[in-house]
Assembly symmetry: C2
Homo-oligomer: 228 residues x 2
DNA sequence: CCAAAAGTGTTTGCTCTACACCCATGG
DNA sequence: CCATGGGTGTAGAGCAAACACTTTTGG
Protein backbone atom coordinates (compact mmCIF):
# COMPACT_ATOMS: atom_id res chain seq x y z
CA UNK A 1 0.00 0.00 0.00
CA UNK A 2 1.27 3.40 -0.84
CA UNK A 3 2.42 5.54 2.03
CA UNK A 4 0.48 8.38 0.47
CA UNK A 5 -2.80 7.46 2.05
CA UNK A 6 -1.79 9.05 5.37
CA UNK A 7 -1.78 5.72 7.10
CA UNK A 8 1.73 6.35 8.38
CA UNK A 9 2.62 9.34 10.51
CA UNK A 10 5.09 11.71 8.92
CA UNK A 11 7.58 14.06 10.44
CA UNK A 12 6.61 17.69 10.16
CA UNK A 13 8.84 19.72 7.86
CA UNK A 14 9.96 23.26 8.46
CA UNK A 15 12.52 25.69 7.07
CA UNK A 16 14.65 28.00 9.18
CA UNK A 17 16.68 30.87 7.84
CA UNK A 18 19.95 32.17 9.20
CA UNK A 19 19.96 35.67 7.76
CA UNK A 20 23.19 37.62 7.97
CA UNK A 21 23.79 41.27 7.34
CA UNK A 22 26.31 43.94 8.26
CA UNK A 23 25.23 46.60 10.75
CA UNK A 24 27.53 49.09 12.38
CA UNK A 25 30.64 47.24 11.34
CA UNK A 26 29.50 43.95 12.82
CA UNK A 27 28.05 40.80 11.40
CA UNK A 28 24.44 40.41 12.56
CA UNK A 29 21.87 37.65 12.51
CA UNK A 30 18.13 38.13 12.31
CA UNK A 31 16.18 36.60 15.19
CA UNK A 32 12.53 36.62 16.14
CA UNK A 33 11.00 36.40 19.58
CA UNK A 34 8.52 33.58 19.86
CA UNK A 35 5.00 34.49 20.96
CA UNK A 36 3.74 30.96 21.50
CA UNK A 37 4.97 27.78 23.15
CA UNK A 38 7.19 25.95 23.00
CA UNK A 39 9.92 28.38 24.02
CA UNK A 40 7.44 31.28 24.19
CA UNK A 41 9.34 34.49 24.78
CA UNK A 42 12.66 33.06 23.61
CA UNK A 43 14.57 34.16 20.59
CA UNK A 44 14.75 31.87 17.59
CA UNK A 45 15.51 31.78 13.89
CA UNK A 46 12.74 32.89 11.57
CA UNK A 47 11.13 29.89 9.96
CA UNK A 48 7.98 27.89 9.60
CA UNK A 49 6.22 24.96 8.06
CA UNK A 50 6.70 24.05 4.44
CA UNK A 51 3.46 24.30 2.51
CA UNK A 52 2.43 21.63 0.03
CA UNK A 53 2.58 23.81 -3.05
CA UNK A 54 5.92 25.52 -2.48
CA UNK A 55 9.49 24.29 -2.87
CA UNK A 56 11.89 24.42 0.07
CA UNK A 57 13.62 27.46 -1.33
CA UNK A 58 10.30 29.21 -1.88
CA UNK A 59 9.37 28.43 1.71
CA UNK A 60 12.62 29.93 2.96
CA UNK A 61 12.13 33.05 0.84
CA UNK A 62 8.56 33.37 2.04
CA UNK A 63 9.59 33.18 5.67
CA UNK A 64 12.35 35.68 5.10
CA UNK A 65 9.96 38.07 3.39
CA UNK A 66 7.40 37.71 6.17
CA UNK A 67 9.99 38.84 8.67
CA UNK A 68 11.92 41.46 6.80
CA UNK A 69 9.96 42.46 3.72
CA UNK A 70 13.02 41.56 1.70
CA UNK A 71 12.46 39.59 -1.45
CA UNK A 72 15.96 39.67 -2.89
CA UNK A 73 18.62 37.85 -1.00
CA UNK A 74 21.41 35.43 -1.57
CA UNK A 75 20.00 32.15 -0.33
CA UNK A 76 21.73 28.85 0.04
CA UNK A 77 20.70 25.58 1.60
CA UNK A 78 22.76 24.85 4.66
CA UNK A 79 21.87 21.54 6.28
CA UNK A 80 18.86 19.50 7.28
CA UNK A 81 18.43 18.83 10.98
CA UNK A 82 16.49 15.71 11.78
CA UNK A 83 17.25 14.51 15.29
CA UNK A 84 14.12 13.00 16.75
CA UNK A 85 14.11 15.09 19.89
CA UNK A 86 14.93 18.51 18.55
CA UNK A 87 11.39 19.85 19.00
CA UNK A 88 9.43 19.18 22.18
CA UNK A 89 6.16 19.14 20.23
CA UNK A 90 7.13 16.00 18.34
CA UNK A 91 9.03 15.02 15.27
CA UNK A 92 10.04 18.08 13.29
CA UNK A 93 12.68 18.04 10.60
CA UNK A 94 14.00 21.41 9.52
CA UNK A 95 15.85 22.43 6.41
CA UNK A 96 18.14 25.28 7.36
CA UNK A 97 19.10 27.98 4.86
CA UNK A 98 21.49 30.79 5.13
CA UNK A 99 20.79 34.14 3.61
CA UNK A 100 22.91 37.22 3.02
CA UNK A 101 21.27 40.57 2.58
CA UNK A 102 23.01 43.70 1.54
CA UNK A 103 23.64 46.54 3.88
CA UNK A 104 21.71 49.11 1.85
CA UNK A 105 18.38 47.29 1.68
CA UNK A 106 16.00 48.79 4.19
CA UNK A 107 14.66 46.04 6.39
CA UNK A 108 11.24 46.25 7.93
CA UNK A 109 11.27 44.54 11.26
CA UNK A 110 7.99 44.24 13.07
CA UNK A 111 6.03 41.77 15.12
CA UNK A 112 3.30 39.59 13.67
CA UNK A 113 0.74 37.30 15.16
CA UNK A 114 3.17 34.50 15.96
CA UNK A 115 6.11 36.73 16.67
CA UNK A 116 6.38 39.30 19.41
CA UNK A 117 9.20 41.14 17.72
CA UNK A 118 12.24 40.67 15.60
CA UNK A 119 15.71 42.09 15.72
CA UNK A 120 19.31 41.95 14.68
CA UNK A 121 21.96 40.47 16.96
CA UNK A 122 25.72 40.58 16.52
CA UNK A 123 26.92 37.03 16.01
CA UNK A 124 29.17 37.22 19.04
CA UNK A 125 26.39 38.42 21.35
CA UNK A 126 23.59 35.99 20.75
CA UNK A 127 20.95 35.40 23.40
CA UNK A 128 19.95 31.92 24.44
CA UNK A 129 17.99 30.43 21.58
CA UNK A 130 15.09 28.04 21.17
CA UNK A 131 15.46 24.53 19.77
CA UNK A 132 18.88 23.72 18.30
CA UNK A 133 19.17 27.14 16.74
CA UNK A 134 22.45 28.03 18.43
CA UNK A 135 24.02 25.03 16.74
CA UNK A 136 22.48 25.98 13.40
CA UNK A 137 23.83 29.52 13.59
CA UNK A 138 27.24 28.22 14.57
CA UNK A 139 27.33 26.02 11.53
CA UNK A 140 26.05 28.81 9.28
CA UNK A 141 28.80 31.08 10.52
CA UNK A 142 31.51 28.50 9.90
CA UNK A 143 30.12 27.95 6.43
CA UNK A 144 29.96 31.69 5.71
CA UNK A 145 33.56 32.21 6.78
CA UNK A 146 34.72 29.22 4.88
CA UNK A 147 32.92 30.22 1.71
CA UNK A 148 34.15 33.76 2.01
CA UNK A 149 37.71 32.54 1.78
CA UNK A 150 37.37 30.81 -1.52
CA UNK A 151 34.35 32.29 -3.26
CA UNK A 152 33.11 35.76 -4.07
CA UNK A 153 30.11 35.54 -1.79
CA UNK A 154 31.13 38.59 0.24
CA UNK A 155 29.64 40.99 -2.30
CA UNK A 156 26.19 39.81 -1.26
CA UNK A 157 26.55 41.74 1.97
CA UNK A 158 27.27 45.03 0.22
CA UNK A 159 25.22 47.48 -1.86
CA UNK A 160 25.24 47.07 -5.62
CA UNK A 161 28.14 49.50 -5.94
CA UNK A 162 30.90 49.60 -3.39
CA UNK A 163 34.46 50.73 -2.88
CA UNK A 164 37.34 48.35 -2.50
CA UNK A 165 37.85 49.60 1.02
CA UNK A 166 34.25 48.75 1.90
CA UNK A 167 34.74 45.31 0.44
CA UNK A 168 37.89 44.78 2.43
CA UNK A 169 36.15 45.90 5.62
CA UNK A 170 33.41 43.39 4.91
CA UNK A 171 35.93 40.59 4.70
CA UNK A 172 37.72 41.77 7.78
CA UNK A 173 34.50 41.93 9.79
CA UNK A 174 33.26 38.52 8.77
CA UNK A 175 36.60 36.77 9.00
CA UNK A 176 37.49 38.71 12.12
CA UNK A 177 40.99 39.30 10.82
CA UNK A 178 43.02 42.16 9.38
CA UNK A 179 43.93 41.96 5.69
CA UNK A 180 46.68 43.62 3.68
CA UNK A 181 45.33 46.42 1.53
CA UNK A 182 47.57 46.02 -1.49
CA UNK A 183 47.38 42.27 -1.63
CA UNK A 184 43.63 42.37 -1.17
CA UNK A 185 43.15 44.77 -4.04
CA UNK A 186 45.45 42.90 -6.35
CA UNK A 187 43.81 39.60 -5.64
CA UNK A 188 40.22 40.69 -5.89
CA UNK A 189 40.86 42.51 -9.15
CA UNK A 190 42.87 39.66 -10.64
CA UNK A 191 40.10 37.26 -9.72
CA UNK A 192 37.92 39.14 -12.17
CA UNK A 193 34.79 38.94 -10.05
CA UNK A 194 34.24 42.69 -9.84
CA UNK A 195 34.43 45.48 -12.37
CA UNK A 196 34.76 49.24 -12.25
CA UNK A 197 31.74 51.47 -12.53
CA UNK A 198 32.07 55.01 -13.90
CA UNK A 199 31.05 56.43 -10.53
CA UNK A 200 33.18 57.66 -7.72
CA UNK A 201 32.14 58.06 -4.13
CA UNK A 202 32.91 61.34 -2.40
CA UNK A 203 33.07 62.12 1.29
CA UNK A 204 36.06 62.91 3.36
CA UNK A 205 39.39 62.26 1.80
CA UNK A 206 40.16 61.30 -1.73
CA UNK A 207 37.13 60.04 -3.70
CA UNK A 208 36.98 56.30 -4.20
CA UNK A 209 36.19 54.33 -7.30
CA UNK A 210 32.96 52.34 -7.09
CA UNK A 211 32.95 48.75 -8.26
CA UNK A 212 30.20 46.25 -8.84
CA UNK A 213 29.97 42.48 -8.88
CA UNK A 214 30.13 40.87 -12.31
CA UNK A 215 27.16 38.52 -12.43
CA UNK A 216 28.85 36.41 -15.11
CA UNK A 217 31.96 35.90 -13.01
CA UNK A 218 33.13 32.49 -11.96
CA UNK A 219 32.90 32.81 -8.25
CA UNK A 220 34.96 29.89 -7.13
CA UNK A 221 38.65 29.72 -6.53
CA UNK A 222 40.30 26.39 -6.95
CA UNK A 223 41.14 24.99 -3.57
CA UNK A 224 44.69 23.94 -2.87
CA UNK A 225 44.72 20.28 -3.55
CA UNK A 226 45.82 17.83 -0.97
CA UNK A 227 47.27 15.65 -3.68
CA UNK A 228 49.06 16.81 -6.79
CA UNK B 1 -3.79 25.81 16.67
CA UNK B 2 -0.77 23.65 16.56
CA UNK B 3 0.10 22.08 13.25
CA UNK B 4 0.67 18.85 15.12
CA UNK B 5 -2.93 17.82 15.07
CA UNK B 6 -2.69 16.67 11.47
CA UNK B 7 -5.03 19.35 10.32
CA UNK B 8 -2.52 20.48 7.71
CA UNK B 9 -1.15 18.16 5.07
CA UNK B 10 2.60 17.54 5.28
CA UNK B 11 5.10 16.63 2.64
CA UNK B 12 6.32 13.08 2.87
CA UNK B 13 9.97 12.74 3.86
CA UNK B 14 12.40 10.21 2.46
CA UNK B 15 16.12 9.61 2.45
CA UNK B 16 18.11 8.48 -0.58
CA UNK B 17 21.66 7.22 -0.46
CA UNK B 18 24.28 7.60 -3.16
CA UNK B 19 26.62 4.78 -2.23
CA UNK B 20 30.02 4.74 -3.92
CA UNK B 21 32.59 1.99 -3.99
CA UNK B 22 35.52 0.88 -6.12
CA UNK B 23 35.06 -2.22 -8.23
CA UNK B 24 37.43 -3.40 -10.92
CA UNK B 25 39.26 -0.10 -11.00
CA UNK B 26 36.15 1.94 -11.53
CA UNK B 27 33.98 4.08 -9.33
CA UNK B 28 30.58 2.44 -8.91
CA UNK B 29 27.22 3.52 -7.54
CA UNK B 30 24.70 1.23 -5.92
CA UNK B 31 21.28 1.21 -7.62
CA UNK B 32 18.12 -0.76 -7.02
CA UNK B 33 15.49 -1.74 -9.54
CA UNK B 34 12.04 -0.64 -8.50
CA UNK B 35 9.39 -3.33 -8.22
CA UNK B 36 6.41 -1.00 -7.82
CA UNK B 37 5.08 2.12 -9.46
CA UNK B 38 5.90 4.85 -9.98
CA UNK B 39 8.81 4.05 -12.29
CA UNK B 40 8.34 0.29 -11.79
CA UNK B 41 11.20 -1.58 -13.41
CA UNK B 42 13.46 1.47 -13.51
CA UNK B 43 16.67 1.84 -11.60
CA UNK B 44 16.84 4.25 -8.70
CA UNK B 45 18.82 5.14 -5.62
CA UNK B 46 18.20 3.05 -2.53
CA UNK B 47 16.06 4.98 -0.10
CA UNK B 48 12.78 5.12 1.69
CA UNK B 49 10.55 6.91 4.12
CA UNK B 50 11.87 8.36 7.34
CA UNK B 51 10.30 6.70 10.34
CA UNK B 52 9.11 8.71 13.32
CA UNK B 53 11.55 7.30 15.80
CA UNK B 54 14.78 7.49 13.77
CA UNK B 55 17.02 10.38 12.86
CA UNK B 56 17.77 11.17 9.23
CA UNK B 57 21.20 9.62 9.47
CA UNK B 58 19.78 6.51 11.09
CA UNK B 59 17.25 6.28 8.27
CA UNK B 60 20.01 6.51 5.68
CA UNK B 61 22.06 3.85 7.46
CA UNK B 62 19.02 1.61 7.73
CA UNK B 63 18.27 1.88 4.04
CA UNK B 64 21.87 1.20 3.21
CA UNK B 65 21.94 -1.83 5.45
CA UNK B 66 18.71 -3.15 3.96
CA UNK B 67 20.27 -3.08 0.51
CA UNK B 68 23.83 -4.12 1.18
CA UNK B 69 24.05 -5.61 4.65
CA UNK B 70 26.73 -3.05 5.40
CA UNK B 71 26.56 -1.29 8.69
CA UNK B 72 29.83 0.60 8.63
CA UNK B 73 30.20 3.27 6.04
CA UNK B 74 31.31 6.82 5.75
CA UNK B 75 28.07 8.75 5.52
CA UNK B 76 27.55 12.42 4.86
CA UNK B 77 24.50 14.50 4.21
CA UNK B 78 24.49 15.81 0.67
CA UNK B 79 21.47 17.98 -0.05
CA UNK B 80 17.73 18.08 0.46
CA UNK B 81 15.62 18.02 -2.67
CA UNK B 82 12.23 19.59 -2.28
CA UNK B 83 10.80 20.60 -5.65
CA UNK B 84 7.06 20.17 -5.57
CA UNK B 85 6.86 18.00 -8.67
CA UNK B 86 9.78 15.64 -8.16
CA UNK B 87 7.58 12.66 -7.32
CA UNK B 88 4.46 11.86 -9.36
CA UNK B 89 2.71 10.47 -6.28
CA UNK B 90 2.61 13.83 -4.59
CA UNK B 91 4.78 15.98 -2.42
CA UNK B 92 7.88 14.12 -1.37
CA UNK B 93 10.96 15.82 0.03
CA UNK B 94 14.10 13.73 0.11
CA UNK B 95 17.27 14.16 2.09
CA UNK B 96 20.11 12.77 0.00
CA UNK B 97 23.19 11.25 1.61
CA UNK B 98 26.36 10.04 0.10
CA UNK B 99 28.15 6.99 1.39
CA UNK B 100 31.58 5.52 0.76
CA UNK B 101 32.20 1.88 1.43
CA UNK B 102 35.54 0.21 1.36
CA UNK B 103 36.54 -2.17 -1.35
CA UNK B 104 37.17 -5.08 0.99
CA UNK B 105 33.77 -5.20 2.65
CA UNK B 106 31.72 -7.98 1.12
CA UNK B 107 28.42 -6.58 -0.04
CA UNK B 108 25.30 -8.68 -0.12
CA UNK B 109 23.14 -7.58 -2.98
CA UNK B 110 19.77 -9.19 -3.28
CA UNK B 111 16.18 -8.34 -4.11
CA UNK B 112 13.54 -7.69 -1.48
CA UNK B 113 9.84 -7.20 -1.55
CA UNK B 114 9.96 -3.67 -2.93
CA UNK B 115 13.07 -4.18 -4.99
CA UNK B 116 13.50 -6.54 -7.91
CA UNK B 117 17.26 -6.51 -7.66
CA UNK B 118 20.18 -4.32 -6.87
CA UNK B 119 23.50 -3.78 -8.52
CA UNK B 120 26.62 -1.70 -8.99
CA UNK B 121 26.97 0.63 -11.94
CA UNK B 122 30.08 2.49 -13.03
CA UNK B 123 29.39 6.19 -12.66
CA UNK B 124 30.02 6.79 -16.33
CA UNK B 125 27.58 4.10 -17.47
CA UNK B 126 24.45 4.84 -15.54
CA UNK B 127 21.07 3.70 -16.84
CA UNK B 128 18.12 6.04 -17.01
CA UNK B 129 16.99 6.66 -13.46
CA UNK B 130 13.71 7.27 -11.68
CA UNK B 131 12.77 10.61 -10.16
CA UNK B 132 15.55 13.21 -10.08
CA UNK B 133 18.13 10.62 -9.15
CA UNK B 134 20.42 11.33 -12.09
CA UNK B 135 20.76 14.88 -10.84
CA UNK B 136 21.39 13.69 -7.30
CA UNK B 137 24.15 11.32 -8.40
CA UNK B 138 25.71 14.04 -10.51
CA UNK B 139 25.84 16.32 -7.52
CA UNK B 140 27.19 13.55 -5.27
CA UNK B 141 29.95 12.86 -7.75
CA UNK B 142 30.94 16.50 -7.96
CA UNK B 143 31.01 16.66 -4.19
CA UNK B 144 33.06 13.49 -3.89
CA UNK B 145 35.64 14.74 -6.37
CA UNK B 146 35.75 18.11 -4.76
CA UNK B 147 36.16 16.70 -1.28
CA UNK B 148 38.79 14.29 -2.43
CA UNK B 149 40.96 17.18 -3.51
CA UNK B 150 41.10 18.89 -0.17
CA UNK B 151 40.26 16.29 2.43
CA UNK B 152 41.41 12.80 3.27
CA UNK B 153 38.09 11.20 2.43
CA UNK B 154 39.62 8.86 -0.16
CA UNK B 155 40.72 6.39 2.50
CA UNK B 156 37.09 5.49 3.07
CA UNK B 157 37.08 3.64 -0.23
CA UNK B 158 39.99 1.40 0.74
CA UNK B 159 40.50 -1.44 3.21
CA UNK B 160 41.79 -0.60 6.65
CA UNK B 161 45.36 -1.16 5.54
CA UNK B 162 46.50 -0.19 2.09
CA UNK B 163 49.59 0.60 0.08
CA UNK B 164 50.43 4.04 -1.19
CA UNK B 165 50.05 2.77 -4.71
CA UNK B 166 46.52 1.57 -3.97
CA UNK B 167 45.72 4.93 -2.48
CA UNK B 168 47.07 6.73 -5.50
CA UNK B 169 45.05 4.51 -7.83
CA UNK B 170 41.95 5.36 -5.83
CA UNK B 171 42.53 9.03 -6.32
CA UNK B 172 43.28 8.56 -10.00
CA UNK B 173 40.11 6.56 -10.54
CA UNK B 174 37.83 8.96 -8.75
CA UNK B 175 39.40 12.11 -10.10
CA UNK B 176 39.81 10.54 -13.52
CA UNK B 177 43.29 11.97 -13.79
CA UNK B 178 46.86 10.70 -13.63
CA UNK B 179 48.93 11.78 -10.63
CA UNK B 180 52.67 11.97 -10.11
CA UNK B 181 53.93 9.17 -7.88
CA UNK B 182 56.64 11.01 -6.00
CA UNK B 183 54.63 14.14 -5.43
CA UNK B 184 51.64 12.12 -4.33
CA UNK B 185 53.63 10.20 -1.77
CA UNK B 186 55.37 13.25 -0.40
CA UNK B 187 52.11 15.16 0.00
CA UNK B 188 50.06 12.44 1.53
CA UNK B 189 52.77 11.64 4.05
CA UNK B 190 53.43 15.28 4.88
CA UNK B 191 49.71 15.80 5.40
CA UNK B 192 49.99 13.41 8.32
CA UNK B 193 46.66 11.73 7.69
CA UNK B 194 48.07 8.23 7.33
CA UNK B 195 50.66 6.29 9.27
CA UNK B 196 52.79 3.24 8.64
CA UNK B 197 51.75 -0.14 9.89
CA UNK B 198 54.35 -2.81 10.65
CA UNK B 199 52.96 -4.97 7.86
CA UNK B 200 54.12 -5.33 4.31
CA UNK B 201 52.07 -6.66 1.48
CA UNK B 202 53.66 -9.34 -0.68
CA UNK B 203 52.72 -10.39 -4.17
CA UNK B 204 54.59 -9.88 -7.35
CA UNK B 205 57.44 -7.46 -7.23
CA UNK B 206 58.91 -5.78 -4.22
CA UNK B 207 56.73 -5.93 -1.10
CA UNK B 208 54.88 -2.75 -0.30
CA UNK B 209 54.51 -1.01 3.02
CA UNK B 210 50.95 -0.98 4.35
CA UNK B 211 49.55 2.21 5.79
CA UNK B 212 46.43 3.04 7.70
CA UNK B 213 44.34 6.12 8.23
CA UNK B 214 44.99 7.99 11.44
CA UNK B 215 41.58 8.49 13.01
CA UNK B 216 42.85 11.48 14.97
CA UNK B 217 44.14 13.22 11.87
CA UNK B 218 42.86 16.59 10.84
CA UNK B 219 41.32 15.72 7.56
CA UNK B 220 40.98 19.10 6.00
CA UNK B 221 43.48 21.04 4.00
CA UNK B 222 43.22 24.75 4.09
CA UNK B 223 41.83 26.00 0.84
CA UNK B 224 43.77 28.57 -1.07
CA UNK B 225 42.19 31.81 -0.07
CA UNK B 226 40.73 34.16 -2.57
CA UNK B 227 41.83 37.06 -0.41
CA UNK B 228 44.99 37.30 1.60
C1' DC C 1 47.92 73.77 3.80
C1' DC C 2 46.26 70.14 6.53
C1' DA C 3 43.48 66.03 7.39
C1' DA C 4 41.56 61.98 5.59
C1' DA C 5 41.13 58.20 2.84
C1' DA C 6 42.57 56.16 -1.86
C1' DG C 7 45.68 54.20 -4.50
C1' DT C 8 50.02 51.90 -6.12
C1' DG C 9 55.12 47.85 -6.94
C1' DT C 10 58.79 45.24 -5.61
C1' DT C 11 61.42 41.90 -3.22
C1' DT C 12 61.83 37.54 -0.77
C1' DG C 13 60.68 33.08 0.43
C1' DC C 14 58.06 29.20 -0.17
C1' DT C 15 55.38 25.87 -2.52
C1' DC C 16 54.24 23.38 -6.55
C1' DT C 17 55.68 20.75 -10.45
C1' DA C 18 58.26 18.09 -13.48
C1' DC C 19 61.18 14.46 -13.98
C1' DA C 20 64.36 9.11 -14.00
C1' DC C 21 66.62 5.69 -11.74
C1' DC C 22 67.68 2.03 -8.17
C1' DC C 23 65.61 -1.58 -4.89
C1' DA C 24 63.54 -5.80 -3.08
C1' DT C 25 61.26 -9.81 -3.81
C1' DG C 26 59.30 -14.21 -6.30
C1' DG C 27 59.62 -17.30 -9.77
C1' DC D 1 68.80 -13.47 -13.43
C1' DC D 2 64.73 -11.45 -14.89
C1' DA D 3 60.24 -9.45 -14.34
C1' DT D 4 57.38 -6.78 -11.47
C1' DG D 5 55.97 -3.28 -8.77
C1' DG D 6 58.04 -0.24 -4.71
C1' DG D 7 60.49 3.39 -3.37
C1' DT D 8 63.37 7.79 -3.52
C1' DG D 9 65.47 13.60 -4.38
C1' DT D 10 66.35 17.84 -6.78
C1' DA D 11 66.18 21.95 -9.64
C1' DG D 12 63.31 25.67 -11.73
C1' DA D 13 59.11 28.31 -11.97
C1' DG D 14 55.30 30.52 -10.26
C1' DC D 15 52.72 32.23 -6.45
C1' DA D 16 52.02 34.32 -1.94
C1' DA D 17 53.32 37.52 1.71
C1' DA D 18 55.40 41.45 3.69
C1' DC D 19 56.04 46.11 3.40
C1' DA D 20 55.64 52.47 2.92
C1' DC D 21 54.88 56.23 0.37
C1' DT D 22 52.29 59.34 -3.01
C1' DT D 23 47.76 61.17 -4.63
C1' DT D 24 43.40 63.45 -4.48
C1' DT D 25 39.89 65.80 -2.49
C1' DG D 26 37.27 68.92 1.23
C1' DG D 27 37.53 72.13 4.71
Amino acid sequence: MSPFTYEYPRPALTVDVVCFTLRENRLNVLLIQRAEPPFAGMWALPGGFVQMEESLEQAALRELEDETGIREAYLEQLYTYGETNRDPRGRVVTVAYFALISADKPVRIEGTREVTRAGWFPVDELPELAFDHTEIIGYALRRLRYKLEYTAIGFELLPGAFTLTQLQYTYEIVLNEKLDKRNFRRRVLQAGVIEQTPQMRGGEGRPARLYRYRPDAVAEIKARRLFP
